[in-house]
Symmetry: C2
Subunit: 136 residues, 2 copies
DNA sequence: TATTGTTATACTCTATAACTATA
DNA sequence: TATAGTTATAGAGTATAACAATA
């Protein structure tokens, strides 16, 4: 018999894997990678430093330089120097990046609806609670 | 105001990103990659063909060859030829791979407990049901 | 001295196209 | 002819170590 935490872990792992497949498909169709879509989504409500981005994405800060370069080359993001600490660089969506991100989110939402659209209210509430509880 | 699907998508994206960070940290500590951990987890209850593995992991089948090679080199998985169709190869956990996977799952569960441990029982049950319902 | 972002390097993940073996 | 896995190739993600600029 499984403990409550093991059961929760198994469910979260499966959600993670299915979302990874969805993001990969959407990214492929848009000529991007899943990691790039994730970065665009993270930037939607934030203007983080490179170090903060690394922590948000769960990777080393040395990776952020190259990812930012590749997204900047496509005109989706732009570097912004922090005036209060000249060591710090922040990343921002461009207007193009923001509208492109909106299009991507619509594609992801369509795939989510197809895959999870038959969810009952309790499951949806649980998912919402999962992420909202941690913001307080 | 957000639609129900948009809200669900946002929650799933956030769960995905946080699980990605957790898996990355656990993988780093174990000298593996997040993708390798995912493959070991997928193999726990299945013995899929390479094509099925590609679909489960949301990537092209050409990637599976190299991933299987690298995990086999560490003695964690083993190829198995399907006797009914000699074109098909299936992948299996070795005994070592299974016990190693159990250790990894314990690390992931510990991180999940720390991050999501304040969830109430109803939310946990709903989340567990989230993925079980879809198997029927 | 410590921190932030960068560069150099090596390995892994990823998709596309072409290939071999089997059906 | 069609399908399963492989190989070759190129680009992207990843961590470690060393570095320049700033604090």
């Amino acid at each position: 018999m499984e403990s409550a935490v093991d059961e929760l872990t198994r469910a979260l792992m499966e959600v993670h894997r299915e979302m990874r497949a969805i993001l990969g498909t959407v990214a492929r169709g848009a000529g991007l990678t899943a990691q790039q879509i994730e970065m665009l989504c993270v930037l939607e409500n934030r203007h983080p430093s490179f170090g903060e981005l690394a922590e948000l994405l769960g990777c080393d800060k040395t990776n952020i330089t190259g990812m930012a370069d590749r997204l900047a080359r496509r005109g989706l993001v732009a570097r912004q120097h922090d005036p209060r600490d000249r060591r710090v660089t922040r990343l921002q969506l461009t207007d193009h990046g923001r509208s492109f991100g909106t299009t991507l989110k619509r594609s992801v939402a369509a795939a989510v609806a197809e895959r999870y659209g038959d969810l009952r209210a309790p499951e949806r509430a649980a998912l919402a609670a999962l992420t909202q509880a941690r913001q307080g």
